[in-house]
């Protein structure tokens, strides 16, 4: 993202993805990314992205309660084990960046995803604010908040979206048999 317009467009795509995933979530774009120590127990999930001339990462930070509240197994109890919370946090980051990947591909920005990394702890020192430029979003679902930050840029400084690179995608939730 080299221009304010690209940051705005990426933020809009992030909001759209979050609202697709959590229709009741209140989203605020362009929030300040906090620097320094997080006082409460937090879970941080991150996922790298890349292409020949593109690099970046998605980072999500929320309390374990956010991930318990959004755990997708209908009819099952919320996860009792921390491992289940961390697994879901990683998968949520994966599905969020996957959806952004498909949306960006339709705009001429094509990349591959890495494998999620998840950490949790108390009083963690989190400093992702220097990964600039970035788009940020704070989502609120009931009493729970999540901060999502996406850093993405061309290594050659070119425009993020290149219409000549448009590619066709299968949409979210769609399936095809060959």
């Amino acid at each position: 993202m080299e221009t304010e317009q690209e940051v705005t467009q990426v933020s809009a795509e992030m909001s759209a993805v979050c609202l697709d995933m959590f229709p009741r979530m209140a989203c605020e774009s362009g929030v300040e990314v906090p620097k320094g120590r997080v006082k409460h127990t937090s879970v941080l999930a991150s996922l790298g992205l890349g292409a020949e001339d593109l690099r970046g990462a998605l980072v999500m930070v929320a309390s374990p309660e956010f991930f318990r509240a959004t755990f997708p197994l209908a009819g099952s109890p919320t996860p009792a084990f921390d491992g289940d919370v961390l697994d879901w946090a990683g998968e949520l980051a994966n599905q969020t960046l996957g959806r952004l990947n498909n949306r960006f591909a339709a705009l001429g920005c094509i990349f591959s995803l890495g494998i999620p990394t998840v950490v949790s702890g108390e009083d963690m020192q989190i400093d992702i604010s220097d990964q600039r430029p970035h788009a940020s979003l704070r989502g609120r679902l009931g009493d729970h908040e999540i901060l999502i930050v996406l850093h993405i840029q061309r290594t050659n400084g070119g425009p993020l979206f290149r219409p000549k690179d448009l590619t066709v995608t299968v949409g979210e939730g769609e399936g095809i048999l060959f």
């Binding site: 998968e91 994966n94 996957g98 990947n101 995803l113 494998i115 299968v170 769609e174 399936g175 060959f178």
Partner: protein, 123 residues
């Protein structure tokens, strides 16, 4: 005997989601957390009737798993359906060339996956 389906995904949450849906539809499931584990499960479970497989996984990806299956002459039987966040046609084309029979983009709809399983296993 219910038809057995191998679920390959590095997320335990996703494996559980898919297992619940398929079990309720009358299938049985076995699980693997990456492509290498999937190869091991295939060796242990020769009665697997279908595979549901993610693309991006550590150690051995879904496409690497497909290539290993193809090299072993096992692609096509049992049929493989990919379940992934990946929806770009170039990746789908690579998987098709390796013999994949279906593609579902997460988040999946249980009815859709069950319909595919019934069709591909003849259940």
């Amino acid at each position: 005997m219910p038809h057995k389906i191998l679920l390959v995904d590095d997320s335990k949450t996703v494996r559980q989601q898919v297992a619940v849906a398929l079990t309720q539809a009358g299938f049985s499931t076995v699980e693997a957390g990456d492509g290498q584990e999937a190869l091991d499960q295939m060796a242990k479970n020769p009665d697997v009737k279908m595979i549901v497989c993610d693309v991006n996984m550590p150690r051995m990806s879904g496409l690497e798993f497909l290539a290993a299956m193809k090299q072993a002459g096992k692609m096509g039987n049992p049929p493989v359906v990919m379940l992934t966040t990946e929806g770009k046609n170039d990746v789908i084309d690579k998987a098709k060339a390796l013999g994949v029979r279906g593609w579902v983009v997460k988040p999946f709809k249980a009815d859709q996956l069950i319909a595919a399983a019934k069709k591909l296993t003849g259940a």
